[in-house]
């Protein structure tokens, strides 16, 4: 082992278990950021995570704290149930774009609208990863997927859903932001946003969501490096990074 101080290592909130994710899948980075934030806030022992149905379905193997697996799309309802009977716990959901923006549309809209005091990490990779790369609500116009073999035709298949923009319209939302993890600077900014989203809950300020643009090199049919670039060049223009709603109390958070 080298000398010197360890300045970067696995956070305690993350198990030392290899993930089942494909090489280069940025789900892994996002998991790590959550782990780091939970460590830094010292809330590992009071946190309850909700794993989605999607590639992150096994997240409970990787997170080192209590976890519940929700049915596809229902994580916000499960989180609501927990938080309402156990407000002393920190409750967050981790959801993909199929999970959150297709089948789970009603649940996320109403959790936001109720101002449910939970945190949502929303991983937008523009496809249904787990089931093999079908069109997601967030698939880009023209994007080829296994269920849009000639590319998403917005006139027939609908338009990519802008989750952050729509949820920012709900009165109950306290903090809504969009980030990505394709470059170190983005990773840092994403972590900060996730931290703010957890702090929002800790301060009892209501619903917080961070949409994270993520890659799926396997289903995009690219190398992991190409996938990063494709995301930067194609997804960010359509899904601009930034803060979509930050209520004053969140701005004032230390």
């Amino acid at each position: 082992m080298p000398e010197g101080e360890v300045v970067f290592a696995r956070p305690a909130a993350l198990e030392d278990t290899p993930t089942h994710y494909c090489p280069g899948c940025t789900h892994g980075i996002i998991h790590r950021l959550i782990g780091e934030v939970i460590d830094e806030l010292g809330i590992r022992e009071i946190t309850v995570g909700i794993a989605p149905v999607g590639c992150a379905v096994l997240a409970y193997h990787y997170f080192n704290f209590d976890t519940v697996e929700a049915a596809h799309g229902r994580a916000p309802a499960v989180a609501t149930g927990i938080k309402r009977v156990s407000p002393e716990n920190v409750v967050f959901t981790y959801q993909g774009d199929g999970d959150l923006a297709a089948i789970g549309t009603a649940e996320i809209v109403h959790a936001a609208n109720r101002g449910e005091n939970i945190t949502v990490v929303f991983v937008n990779n523009a496809v249904f990863g787990m089931t093999g790369g079908q069109m997601a609500p967030t698939t880009l116009p023209g994007q080829v997927t296994t269920s849009t073999p000639t590319g998403r035709d917005v006139k027939v298949d609908g338009y990519p859903v802008k989750v952050a923009e729509i949820l920012a319209q709900t009165t109950g939302a306290a903090y809504i932001a969009r980030r990505t993890v394709t470059q170190p600077k983005y990773v840092r900014s994403c972590k900060k946003a996730i931290k703010t989203a957890f702090k929002t809950q800790l301060a009892g300020l209501g619903f917080a969501l961070v949409e994270v643009l993520s890659t799926c090199s396997t289903n995009w049919g690219m190398s992991p490096m190409e996938a990063l670039r494709w995301l930067d060049e194609n997804m960010i223009p359509y899904y601009p990074l930034g803060d979509y709603k930050v209520i004053d109390e969140v701005k004032a958070l230390p």
């Binding site: 080298p2 000398e3 010197g4 993350l14 993930t19 892994g28 980075i29 790590r32 170190p184 992991p224």
Partner: protein, 68 residues
């Protein structure tokens, strides 16, 4: 002296750590690891690594530990 340690058997050979190193110290090895991937490796004969954590930030598999 700042450096990094790559857990070779944890590495999935995705290359995400390679392009972000400001000193270009991380490359892919020729050999296969136990999983059958070419792992990433640090080549830092001059001790240029600053421990900036850029590489580690990008690693989806938490295969990189950074020392400073």
């Amino acid at each position: 002296m700042p450096t990094i340690v790559i857990d070779e058997d944890r590495c999935k050979g995705c290359q995400l750590c390679t392009t972000v190193c400001p000193k270009d110290l991380v490359t892919m090895a020729e050999n296969f690891n136990a999983k059958g991937y070419h792992p990433a490796k640090l080549e830092d004969p001059e001790g240029e690594c600053t421990g900036c954590t850029m590489c580690a930030l990008m690693c989806p598999d938490v295969a990189i530990t950074v020392y400073r």
